[in-house]
Symmetry: C2
Subunit: 302 residues, 2 copies
């Protein structure tokens, strides 16, 4: 099944556009996990798996996808990558779309190796889509496109990232328009070969929730692509700002929250209500609230 | 010891500016390795280590550094990363500067995790420097700078990559000048805090050998930085084109070749002279020839 069709199906089935980001930063974990993790790298990696498994068990019925931030796994070397493999597999077994947030980008045979590693038919990772950095231009994207198309996988190409200094390069003006628009048009072109029966392409874009005006422009350029939106919650993106990232069909965007779900026990009002001992309840309430909030806006008039 | 000082010392000691790139693509390996590798991912990872160890043993006396392309290791998941750890360690034990060609780039706590993973004091990898993708702007670079400076490590930030389509983005014109120049100036600024006693900064740039004109301009902007130059050999970069990438002191650039060293047995004239059975001799002659060729131009008048 085409990746975009899979996403549409899951959104409708779950009535949710939420992606639970798994950014298991050891310092933020509940105490019992943190203590075990501090023993040694292997123990830390096992904790990453155990924690992510708990999160997945809690959120699975409310979210479309999980997005694993691989950096937090790479921190523990081969042990960490083993945990990453296990988390991907567990998420997949729970029926979730699994997005590997790897932001890789390179050229020719190196890009071939990355795309085969994560999206190839012999991949060791149960991954449905990856994030890709477009710095290299088409040479860096084509190998990913090819492998993704062959194996019904998805890509989310960085277009406008959520961090404050992303403007330094992404908003430089070329021939009267900002670079992120140039990228958006390229993503549109790269995605043309991968449109599914629901009308959406398996080649999407990463667009930060923290820049609603730019997001609106990108939505117009990329009307057929799924936007993967980080930056909701802890980074400051608000749900009302996200309205224009959806198409009139209520589709076209999936919204990621990482810390504000996984570590909800640290965030008002859940810190007071639940605290660390009931961190699982905080996760559940945070994800339900996010799902409802977004459903409240994604079908509202533009 | 400051990373740039270490590089200068090694260049002088070895009388070489050559970096041996380790891009162990299974398909290119001599037959005996390839056959073993095709059994299963663990066997493949062990082959990556065994092959890279042989290369390191052959080239160690002729090169300043090895540059490991992590994609070829990631292809074999946690087994591959274990092999990557072992190759880094072996290179380091042989007295080589170890550059991890990871091209990571991300923001805030994710960039912290990547920089801690590869350059931190508890890193599981014996790595002296990494390559970094600057797409995110300063937010994405600062965490790497901080960890690198704390631990005397180096960074090579992508400025002008060696692939044909790199111009699509890197040569867009902003206020009358191409983006790679804007990147070069930022690298110069980012590197100011990290200048060693030899006058070079530990924050360098990646500049493809395939674009000599642009390389010359970048050299002028980044007079105090080491340039890591891929694209020599198989990708078409010629030694005469590299002259202007060196400073008058014969320093300031290290030149990488991957396939044309590791797989020299496939490349004229070594394919005819040695062939696959004597692939090790081909490696040795290729690296010596490259070293001599570059020494012939790096001190010649500009």
């Amino acid at each position: 099944m085409n990746f975009a069709d899979l996403v549409v199906e899951e959104i409708k089935k779950k009535n949710s556009c939420v992606v639970a980001g798994l950014d298991p930063k050891i310092d933020c974990l509940p105490k019992a996990f943190k203590e075990k993790a501090n023993r040694n790298p292997k123990a830390a990696a096992d904790v990453l798996f155990a924690f992510c498994r708990e999160i997945i068990n809690i959120v699975a019925q409310y979210v479309v996808a999980v997005k694993l931030q691989i950096a937090f796994f790479e921190l523990f070397g081969s042990y960490g990558i083993s945990a990453f493999e296990r988390v991907c597999k567990f998420g997949s077994q729970k029926g979730l779309v699994v997005i590997a947030d790897i932001k890789r980008g390179d050229i020719s045979s190196t890009a071939d190796a990355y795309s085969a590693a994560y999206l190839g038919k012999n991949s060791l990772f149960c991954v449905d889509a990856v994030t890709v950095n477009p710095f290299f231009g088409s040479d860096g994207i084509e190998p990913f496109l090819e492998v993704a198309n062959e194996n019904n996988k998805g890509l989310f190409i960085l277009v406008r990232t959520s961090n404050p200094s992303s403007a330094e390069f992404q908003e430089l003006i070329v021939d009267g328009e900002p670079i992120y628009k140039i990228f958006a048009r390229r993503v549109s072109r790269w995605g043309k070969r991968a449109v599914g029966r629901e009308g959406y392409s398996s080649v999407g874009a990463v667009v930060g929730a923290t820049f609603p005006k730019q997001g609106r422009e990108i939505r117009k350029i990329l009307s057929k692509s799924f936007l993967l939106i980080p930056g909701y919650g802890t980074q400051g993106g608000k749900s009302r700002d996200l309205k224009h990232l959806f198409n009139p069909d209520g589709l076209g965007a999936i919204i990621n929250a990482s810390r504000s779900i996984s570590f909800a026990y640290k965030v008002p009002p859940f810190d007071k209500i639940y605290g660390e001992t009931n961190w699982q309840k905080a996760v559940e309430e945070a994800v339900i609230r996010m799902k409802d909030e977004l459903n409240g806006i994604r079908f509202s008039p533009q």
